[in-house]
């Protein structure tokens, strides 16, 4: 049983001199974790499924083409209704984010580690959101408009609080997702451990693991996973469009 809840290092190369990275500190080794490998698997799966779904597209849709069109239509409509019709250009990013998060959060069902149960993944996504919020705000309103709109609203004395709020945004986004998924993962691991240890020395097969975890998977993996994917995507959309609009 995996009682170590950090991400497993799959490949690790040691260096004589530590590599210095400003935000990570000194790194004595270069490594690729389970999180990254699983993300690659998900990426390959998503790309392959996309290619299969959009192959031989016809003007009159049939079969798998309907699935692709409904999926893209749903994501585009969601983007349009939460960000406004003028920001439909964000649909591919937001749609990809949603698809990737749903797949990542449900990845725990395969028995592998969900990529979102790693702070590195959730922070990567939330930092991208952070840069999108401020990048598109500057692009839309100019540097002075952005400074005024972000920090000096409603009054100038609010600037320190606004600064904290802006920094808190990606942190809260990342930790909300990470906490939910890693929490579910830890609970499921503990439950499997517990179920396996019931009469563990008597029974040759841990039969209690058979059906009991199903409703818990339903809640922690499916319900919480889809919900958190939706929340992360919606918040990203709302933050970016708010920063652009006000």
């Amino acid at each position: 049983m995996n009682t170590e809840f950090g991400s497993k290092k799959i490949f690790e190369f040691f260096f004589d001199k530590p590599i210095h990275l400003p935000i990570l500190g000194d790194q004595p080794s270069f490594y690729i974790t389970e999180t990254v490998i699983n993300t690659w698997i998900i990426m390959i799966l998503l790309v392959v499924v996309s290619i299969i779904l959009t192959r031989n597209m016809k003007l009159v849709p049939e079969g798998k083409q309907n699935v692709a069109e409904i999926l893209v239509g749903l994501l585009t409509n969601l983007t349009g209704s939460s960000m406004g019709k003028d920001k439909l250009g964000f649909a591919p990013y937001m749609g990809t984010l949603m698809i990737f998060l749903v797949c990542s959060n449900l990845w725990g069902l395969t028995g592998m580690r969900p990529p979102t149960a790693d702070l590195n993944t959730t922070f990567a996504l939330s930092i991208l959101t952070f840069f999108m919020i401020h990048g598109f705000a500057i692009k839309r309103k100019g540097v002075f408009g952005w400074i005024k709109g972000t920090f000096f609203e409603p009054v100038a004395v609010m600037a320190p609080l606004n600064l904290i709020s802006e920094i808190a945004t990606p942190v809260s986004l990342a930790f909300r997702l990470f906490g939910n998924i890693v929490g579910g993962m830890i609970i499921m691991a503990l439950i499997y451990n517990a179920l396996g240890s019931i009469l563990g020395s008597v029974l040759p097969i841990p039969i209690f693991m058979l059906a009991i975890p199903v409703p818990l998977h339903g809640y922690f993996d499916i319900f919480a996973g889809v919900l958190q994917a939706f929340i992360f995507t919606m918040l990203t959309m709302v933050f970016v469009s708010m920063a652009m609009d006000d």
Binding site: K8, I32, A68, L119, N120
Partner: protein, 170 residues
């Protein structure tokens, strides 16, 4: 030995995940969003084209229909005119024929009347001559002698004429 990162710790994964996210966005844009959106756009265009061409065709059909209706109306009017003309002509011709027949019959009757009159007059004249001769012969017998032909004949004829003209007419 399996090596784990800390549960709440940053490492190389962060860079990988940023890159992975951006790469995935690009890949899904290329393989999912772009083809589907292109197809949707193409479909929208096709439907719009089809609708507008259908409308054009409908307008054309409507125009053709109106044209044909107009033409049919004209043809009907023309046909009516031709029929009326033909009827009038036939009526006229019939009247003419009747008139001709009537004229001819009148002519025939008139000619017959003339003939009858002529025959009548001939018969009358013959009868008159016969009567005059007979009266003359009878008078000769009665008197027993030959009458002076010329004088007597004149007398008889005059008599007959005076008596006869009124009586013979009936």
């Amino acid at each position: 030995m399996e090596v784990y990162t800390g549960l709440v710790s940053f490492g190389w994964s962060w860079f990988f995940q940023v890159a992975n996210t951006l790469i995935l966005v690009a890949l899904l844009f290329k393989f999912l969003f772009k083809p589907v959106n292109n197809m949707l756009k193409k479909r929208t265009e096709t439907i719009a084209n089809d609708l507008s061409s259908a409308e054009t065709q409908r307008d054309e059909a409507e125009k053709l229909r109106a044209d044909y209706e107009k033409r049919i109306k004209e043809i009907r009017i023309e046909a009516d005119g031709i029929l009326k003309d033909a009827k009038n002509k036939a009526d006229d011709r019939a009247k003419e024929i009747i008139q001709e027949a009537r004229d001819k019959s009148d002519d025939i009757i008139a000619k017959a009347q003339v003939e009858i009159d002529r025959q009548n007059r001939n018969a009358y004249n013959e009868l008159k001559n016969d009567v005059a001769n007979m009266a003359f012969m009878a008078a000769e017998k009665i008197i027993g002698e030959k009458m002076d032909d010329k004088l007597n004949e004149k007398l008889v004829v005059k008599f007959i004429e005076e008596a006869g003209d009124v009586k013979w007419q009936k």
